[in-house]
């Protein structure tokens, strides 16, 4: 299965992936209209310190702790993509505690949010990967 991988060597810390992620999840057509005066809460986040930066988003683990931890069955693995059903989520945040990558977070709607590889919003390559100017995040099949 294709996943999002990080080439930290090429990450510029430009944070564009965060904005493309936020845009993808608004469902709007125009980025300026969608994100104008909006404080974004993206599903991919840049970690940076001492000149090193890289993007962190859901790894879509083969044995996902978050899915095991979910008490309401909101988190499910569908063909390897771990998705969240917001109607089922009760906001207990056990998944956030159990994710070793810190890739699950609370959303504005009071439930949790995480990267779903843009399967809900957009066919094909996830927007963060499309928007990365330096191939620092890639969407590919790796063993």
């Amino acid at each position: 299965m294709k996943r999002v991988y990080v080439n930290e060597k090429w990450c510029l810390g430009c944070h564009l992936c965060e904005f493309y992620c936020a845009f993808a999840n608004t469902g709007e057509k125009d980025m300026a209209q969608a994100l104008k005066d909006l404080k974004i809460n993206p599903r991919i986040k840049i970690e940076e310190q001492n000149g090193i930066s890289f993007a962190v988003s859901c790894r879509h683990c083969r044995e996902p702790f978050c899915v095991k931890a979910c008490i309401s069955g909101a988190l499910q693995a569908n063909d390897g993509v771990i998705t969240i059903d917001k109607d089922k989520c009760i906001g207990c945040c056990t998944c956030i505690l159990s994710c070793p990558f810190g890739a699950v977070a609370v959303s504005e709607e009071g439930v949790v949010q995480k990267c779903e590889l843009c399967v809900q919003t957009h066919e094909g390559t996830p927007r963060c990967v499309e928007g990365c100017p330096n191939n620092a995040i890639v969407f590919e099949e790796r063993g």
């Binding site: 430009c14 944070h15 965060e18 980025m31 300026a32 000149g51 330096n134 191939n135």
Partner: protein, 501 residues
């Protein structure tokens, strides 16, 4: 604050309706033009620091940015232009020589743009390159002038070492130091994939690039940086650099602050020491001296590699080329006055040297008149901008062209001409670690391959139109060229007729 004599050349125009305050402009500008104002949650710009490199414009996700020409003006004066006045103010401020980067940007005639190409009609049918074979391969080096046979009458192999190229294009000399490791890697990988050559420039060859040796031309310049036996033997050819089109008669100076880490090791000089290339080679004061260096290098590499001698196009270029052809060099490379540079004194760059079109025509004619044209191949550079420039150069007599600026443009350069400041926002002409990584060679080499693949298609298309199916048949074929708006003298030097004749 002191009096500010020089106004900003550009203005940063931000469409606040489109700006989403993502701050990518701020993060990507090494000149610190953009700033975030937290209280107002908006961006502001200090255009006085802007060099117009377009990094922010290219990366702005909502296309909210535009760099426009500042229209702050002094009283109009045809003699004292705004630019001239600014340069004077700058020197009155600093007391220093003006520095510039990349090629001559002044308004001199561009002869390539005054030359038109021929095409076949009716009597000599054109060729469709999509249906019929079309040859763009070239060999560079000294051609065997006569057929020799041994006592049994069998042909003797008297061929001298040659460079084999899939198309008549090479990447010109740009040193590791003046451009980044990633830029070099992009050039090396593209050369390997395309079956052409790149040139190390005078900064030595990083050991990581030894595997690309068969696509590498190594340079021996007046500073002799990084020259050792393994370096010479690693290469496909060796180039002796006498001069550079951007700064004929001038040496080079890579400041000590760029001589860091691997660059110091590759150049074989201590970290932090200035890399000064003298104006002349201190052991070359005549063609005989040049010949000694040519043969020293051939001796060191067992006569297996062609030797190139590179000169800037200057007034007596034809006579100089004739001398070089007789010195034992296999290839002459001529760099026109529009050739690029990482740094040159502005006055030299803008006022010294001659156009490559005229130099090439003069050299080709002189070598043919003297019957020594086959002894050498001629490579020209100094602002080859497109496939048509290449076709015109080949028809004027060149065997191959060097491209430098065009290659850097493919890597992202926007010709802001600030290389000498060392803060290239595109990761090309810099050694600052966080700027370096902006050029990912995986992307860069593909863009170079794309560019030259496109140019090769165009060259084939143009040749097909002329009814020519091999680049060898185009070489020196000046009947395929006609001048427009050129005077008698210019036509005579170029050796072409006027359109309509």
């Amino acid at each position: 604050m002191a009096i500010r004599y020089i106004y900003s050349e550009y203005e940063v125009s931000r469409n606040t309706d489109r700006c989403i305050v993502c701050r990518v402009c701020e993060r990507q500008c090494a000149n610190e033009v953009h700033t975030y104002l937290p209280e107002q949650n908006k961006m502001t710009a200090d255009e006085s620091k802007c060099v117009n490199c377009h990094r922010c414009v290219s990366l702005c996700p909502t296309r909210a940015l535009k760099i426009i020409k500042g229209n702050n003006t002094y009283k109009e004066n045809a003699n004292w232009s705004n630019k001239t006045m600014n340069e004077l103010y700058r020197q009155a401020d600093s007391g220093g020589v003006l520095l510039s980067s990349m090629g001559n940007s002044e308004n001199y005639p561009i002869y390539f743009d005054r030359i038109l190409l021929n095409a076949s009609q009716v009597t000599n049918p054109s060729i469709d390159p999509l249906r019929e074979p079309m040859e763009t391969r070239v060999y560079l080096g000294s051609k065997a002038v006569k057929i020799e046979r041994d006592e049994k009458g069998r042909l003797k192999n008297n061929l001298l070492p040659h460079l084999k190229l899939s198309m008549p294009i090479m990447f010109s000399a740009m040193s590791y130091g003046s451009i980044s490791y990633n830029a070099h890697e992009s050039l090396a990988r593209a050369s390997e994939e395309l079956g052409i050559y790149y040139n190390t420039g005078e900064g030595g060859l990083h050991e990581d690039f030894y595997p690309y040796g068969k696509n590498t031309i190594v340079q021996v310049a007046s500073g002799r940086f990084g020259v050792h036996k393994a370096y010479l033997n690693q290469a496909a050819a060796i180039e002796i650099k006498i001069g550079q089109g951007a700064k004929p008669g001038i040496g080079g100076h890579l400041p000590g602050k760029k001589i860091v880490g691997d660059i110091s090791k590759t150049r074989m000089i201590p970290e932090g020491s200035d890399a000064i290339s003298p104006a002349p080679h201190h052991d070359i004061y005549s063609i005989e001296d040049l010949s000694q260096l040519v043969y020293s290098l051939k001796e060191a590499t067992e006569y297996k590699k062609p030797v190139i001698v590179k000169i800037a196009a200057v007034h007596n270029v034809a006579a100089i080329a004739s001398g070089i052809a007789r010195s034992g060099a296999d290839i002459i490379s001529i760099d026109g006055f529009r050739g690029g540079t990482g740094a040159a004194p502005t006055r030299i760059r803008d006022h010294v040297g001659i156009p490559i079109e005229l130099a090439l025509a003069g050299v080709d004619k002189r070598l043919r008149d003297e019957g020594i044209r086959d002894q050498v191949s001629v490579v020209v550079g100094g602002s080859i901008r497109s496939s048509t420039d290449i076709v015109k150069a080949v028809a004027l007599g060149a065997d191959c062209v060097y491209i430098g600026t065009a290659a850097l443009l493919a890597l992202g350069c926007h010709l802001c001409r600030s290389c000498h400041e060392g803060k290239c926002n595109w990761g090309i002409a810099t050694q600052v670690p966080e700027l370096l990584k902006r050029l990912n060679p995986d992307i860069g080499y593909k863009r170079l391959v794309n560019l030259l693949t496109a140019w090769r298609h165009e060259i084939e298309e143009i040749m097909g139109g002329m009814g020519i199916n091999s680049i060898e048949s185009l070489k020196g074929n000046r009947l395929m060229l006609r001048g427009v708006g050129l005077n008698e003298k210019e036509l005579e030097i170029l050796g072409i007729r006027h359109a309509g004749e």
